[in-house]
Symmetry: C2
Subunit: 163 residues, 2 copies
């Protein structure tokens, strides 16, 4: 599934002459891995960031430490900041961010296992930066399944926004 989505996405980005970047926490590199599985992806993909720890989020893509302290690493606010930071850092046209609780541990009443936040940042027609974020509750479907579904959601979202 993610291969088909990645194939479509790389094709669309190539046709539009756009470049994508990724910044991943719970998916740990799998979105970048899906995109680079496609031959010819080097035309649309330069950089990917795997920011597994909070320090990595602040250092690599400049998420303000206070944002993490206030809202938590798994939050819409941090997902937005990750996407914006990656977009700027990579000089890309579109950036995808993923931060969530893949489980089986790490969940809480507020933020249960399977909760994943996504960010998408892109440059608009006038050069302005447009950033959106959303949250998905996949439930306790297992660590691998949460990660896989997160990869699919991120790729689908980028496809939809670019189409």
């Amino acid at each position: 599934m993610s291969t088909i989505l990645a194939q479509e996405l790389v094709g669309l980005l190539s046709a539009q002459g756009k470049r994508i970047t990724t910044v991943e926490s719970c998916t740990g590199g799998l979105v970048a891995g899906a995109i680079t599985a496609i031959s010819g992806s080097s035309a649309v993909f330069d950089y990917g960031f795997v920011t597994y720890s909070n320090t990595a989020k602040t250092r690599l893509v400049h998420v303000p430490q206070t944002l993490i302290e206030t809202h938590g690493a798994v939050s819409l606010q941090v997902a937005r900041a990750m996407a914006e930071g990656a977009l700027r850092e990579a000089g890309a046209d579109i950036a995808l961010s993923i931060t969530g609780i893949a489980g089986p541990t790490g969940g809480s009443a507020d933020k249960p296992v399977g909760m994943v936040c996504f960010g998408l940042s892109r440059s608009g027609r006038k050069g302005e930066i447009i950033t959106e974020a959303k949250v998905e509750q996949f439930g306790a479907i297992g660590r691998d399944a949460v990660r896989e579904k997160s990869v699919e959601l991120a790729l689908s979202w980028a496809l939809k926004v670019l189409s």
Copy 2:
């Protein structure tokens, strides 16, 4: 296979109180993806770099541009520089780098499809940095297989060095 290797590696790193980082070109995030597939990997993994383009290699992990111009992005020299740069940048105890030609295009007589260079950098007992590099010729076994075998080789190498 890579799940078993990653499980062993995360266990070994945890037991030794060490942290690992990755910097990937042709595997595009799959080594980081394999490590973070393991629950508890956050104890040993903070950062991963996906440096797909030459610019990403120079900007994210400080590979000298001249090294790429002289030896090519797929070379033992660049694999070494990627690993050393990632080790320092992430403040990790061990760093794995991968740069190769997954194919099906991009090969040459000198550097055929399936040629992959690996680097491993680590801090020694006296705080010195020890870096090694090696090359593997997987042959034209297909893009996915080259990437998969590269992930396995990288994880196995780290396991062997740490054991």
